[in-house]
Symmetry: C2
Subunit: 92 residues, 2 copies
DNA sequence: TAGATAATTAGACAAACATCTAAATATCGA
DNA sequence: TCGATATTTAGATGTTTGTCTAATTATCTA
């Protein structure tokens, strides 16, 4: 089920967006200042992240504020954790 | 720098390969038995994983044995860990 | 209500991707 | 060395992806 999440993480721009959101919530415009791509392109990336459940959005007047959804992030981390203790069945 | 790794993780077949490899090393042929795609397609996925550093390969006679490279896996986990303790600067 | 600002949706396009079949390479066993 | 087996490489093809510009929607303010 976390397939959309992994796909969303495949793009460097989207990973950077998540890193920026980790510091605090941002409007679409504030996020746009950090990238050299057009606003529609950034909006498309945000829609991808939202579709994957990695971010949520909420309108505040003219702005739309984006926030990290750490719950879905935890799910992805959970997948990775299955790979951390594999020292019991290596045969080479 | 872990960009190739994230891209490699975006495909469900490749994630499944990693999960199989977590149980133990496998030859390309053994891995192929678990999928409905052609062997050349699987070989391509293995090459992608190898290029990302997520697996290593070693020829044993006619077979090529694939193994997880947990080091690179750890690097990816490291990126995720930066998102686990974000409870100090949320403003909503 | 009209104009300005913030952001998204629509539509187009080139590059990247996953897949296939056919051909090539490498190794083993008789 | 010859044939069989294991796997990859080459080349082609349809789909998905990231990007753009132009147009649209939503909100605020005067």
């Amino acid at each position: 089920m976390p397939g959309e999440g992994f796909k969303a993480l495949a793009d460097p721009t989207r990973r950077r967006i998540l890193e920026l959101l980790r510091e605090g919530n941002c409007t679409a415009g504030e996020l746009a200042e950090h990238f050299d791509i057009s606003k529609p392109s950034l909006s498309h990336h945000l829609a991808t992240l939202k579709n994957a459940g990695l971010v949520t959005d909420e309108r505040h007047g003219q702005n739309i504020v984006y926030s990290l959804n750490t719950t879905v992030m935890q799910d992805l981390i959970g997948w990775f954790m299955g790979f951390t203790n594999t020292e019991c069945d290596k045969d080479e």
